[in-house]
């Protein structure tokens, strides 16, 4: 390995880590903060190692109850590999979904990957499960139980959303009180 290669690889590593940090910091610094309400999930699915699985009210959306630029007959075409944009309406800091679009909409929206949910009672799927990349909250070793107890009483997550729809978790919120990881 030449000295030039040594330096270039070192700079490349710094650039990759820097880009990862920069990408997330951009969202945190420029994004709009909103609260997202979490919903209870089966406790057995709550932990995987040392992180908590978060599921939000906006993680499961029924196309028949929301504004959309595609019909339920096109739902299979967006399966997992096309981004969808969920428009949000904020009331008392708490964000709720108003529509799901494949074309980038105006206003506040969050970007995610959509998967259709199959319901045997209906002809085809009309409900989308959407992942926004904010479904894991990492906790110190052994702190998961405390979060589980807090979550039983209802918990929100403060996220920052930038103008491209990327979201980053800032903190957990319980009764308007921010919970720092150190408090758990």
């Amino acid at each position: 390995m030449t000295r030039k290669a040594f330096i270039l690889i070192g700079v490349f590593w710094l650039a990759l880590v820097g880009a990862l940090v920069g990408f997330k910091e951009y969202t945190l610094k420029t994004g709009q903060d909103v609260l997202l309400r979490t919903v209870p999930v089966d406790p057995r699915d709550l932990f995987r190692g040392d992180y908590v699985i978060l599921r939000y009210e906006i993680s499961s959306l029924d196309l028949e109850q929301l504004e959309s630029d595609f019909g339920s007959d096109q739902i299979m075409e967006i399966w997992g590999y096309r981004h969808v944009y969920v428009t949000l309406e904020v009331e008392d800091n708490l964000a709720r979904a108003t529509g799901v679009f494949v074309e980038k909409p105006e206003g506040l929206f969050i970007k995610g990957s959509a998967f259709p949910e199959f319901n045997p009672d209906r002809d085809g799927p009309t409900v989308l499960t959407i992942q926004y990349g904010i479904e894991s909250f990492f906790v110190p070793e052994g702190a998961g139980k405390a979060i589980e107890q807090e979550r039983q009483e209802g918990m929100d997550v403060r996220v920052s959303i930038d103008r491209f729809g990327n979201a980053v978790i800032r903190s957990l919120v319980l009764d308007g009180r921010e919970i720092a990881v150190e408090d758990l």
Partner: protein, 382 residues
């Protein structure tokens, strides 16, 4: 070179006794030096792996006594220290090249740990495939710059891991059923790319490491496809996802092109046989995914294919004088026989008879395989 060959030359007076003694002494010294060097490499690489695991576990514990900034600074500092000291020991001072290589490998591990720490700080989703991709892309230039087995294997393992995470993140039912298909064609593509790397002087270690990882991945996946339930479930899920099907078929095309190109340039008979087999399997995978024959027909073909491949391992290992390839054949043949024994005979026999016959088959099979392996090993030594 074998001692017996030198003694034979001395007996036939092709070399004098004095020359033969000198050659034998040099050979002994060379072997001792080589053994000692390999031992140093093995010990220092294991040390690097332990340090890397320790860093990753430290991150996983998410210890709150240190702030994220301090943890990040510590990890970046450790990565830079391992990477720079490795470079200087191996390439600038050149007095401890093996330790230097192990430290560069540690640098590659710590770079990955830094990526994972960043992901933890920003709560990026668990099992996110892009993190492994970033790690792989980051160390890829290092793989080709240092050209050592540990970094080459790390690169191949990360690529394989990324493919698995990517596949499971995109498909229905988390794609577990489909993984064998992804991995058969990915293994073949990696095998082909490894073959092409052999053509570039100095990249032999990277090529061999990638080919060995590719063989293990492809054989394990093909082994899974000898089970009927996996063939049925996986194929159904694939048919529902045009995107996924397109991805796997593209990798199969890449495999055919890479292996085909390799076989055109390299002339020896065993390589050609390997290449034709690889191209055949990739083409068969495309046929399997595109044309719906009854699943049972494909299961039979997968079983025949797997048996033929284990025999090809014996042939290739024997032709090349490579005991590792022969051992791989022995391992997969044994695994295959055990699996089929449980599949076919469980419901037909009384359990006592089942274990009796099974025990006899395994013991006799073990004796035959061991004898065959020893025969091949001793023929290599001669």
């Amino acid at each position: 070179m074998d001692d017996r060959l030198i003694r034979k030359w001395a007996r036939e007076e092709l070399v004098s006794q004095e020359q033969a003694d000198r050659m034998l002494a040099d050979l002994r010294e060379f072997r001792r030096e080589s053994r000692s060097g390999k031992f140093v490499t093995a010990v220092s690489t294991v040390g690097a792996v332990l340090l890397g695991i320790s860093a990753i576990l430290f991150i996983a514990s998410n210890w709150q006594e240190l702030s994220s900034t301090v943890k990040m600074a510590l990890l970046i500092g450790a990565t830079a220290a391992a990477y720079a000291s490795g470079y200087y020991l191996k390439y600038e001072f050149r007095d401890l090249p093996r330790i230097g290589g192990a430290l560069l490998f540690l640098g590659a591990l710590l770079f990955g740990a830094t990526v994972m720490l960043t992901a933890q700080i920003y709560h990026i989703n668990a099992n996110e495939h892009t993190l492994v991709l970033i790690w792989f892309i980051g160390i890829l230039p290092l793989v080709f710059a240092v050209r050592t087995y540990p970094t080459a294997i790390l690169g191949a393992v990360l690529l394989v891991l990324w493919i698995g995470l990517f596949a499971t993140s995109r498909s229905r039912f988390w794609g577990i059923d489909n993984l064998p298909y992804w991995y058969v064609v990915s293994g073949l593509a990696l095998f082909g790319i490894g073959g092409l790397l052999y053509l570039r002087e100095g990249l032999e270690k990277v090529a061999r490491a990638w080919r060995l990882v590719a063989l293990k991945v492809a054989m394990f996946s093909l082994f899974l496809l000898t089970f009927r339930w996996l063939v049925e479930h996986g194929r159904t899920a694939f048919m529902d996802s045009g995107y996924e099907l397109a991805c796997v078929l593209s990798i199969a095309v890449l495999a055919i092109l890479a292996i085909g190109l390799d076989s055109l340039v390299r002339k020896d008979e065993t390589t050609r046989l390997e290449s034709y087999t690889g191209i055949g399997i990739a083409a068969f995978m495309m046929l399997f995914l595109l044309y719906p024959l009854p699943d049972v027909a494909y299961v039979i073909v997968f079983n025949l294919l797997f048996t033929a491949l284990t025999l090809l391992f014996f042939y290739a290992g024997y032709s090349r004088g490579d005991i590792r390839i022969v051992n791989m054949g022995v391992f997969w043949l044994a695994a295959f026989l055990i699996a089929r024994y449980f599949d076919w005979f469980w419901s037909l026999m009384d359990r006592a008879l089942f274990f009796l016959v099974g025990g006899v088959i395994l013991v006799v099979g073990g004796i035959v395989l061991e004898k065959q392996r020893r025969h091949i090993k001793s023929s290599f030594a001669q």
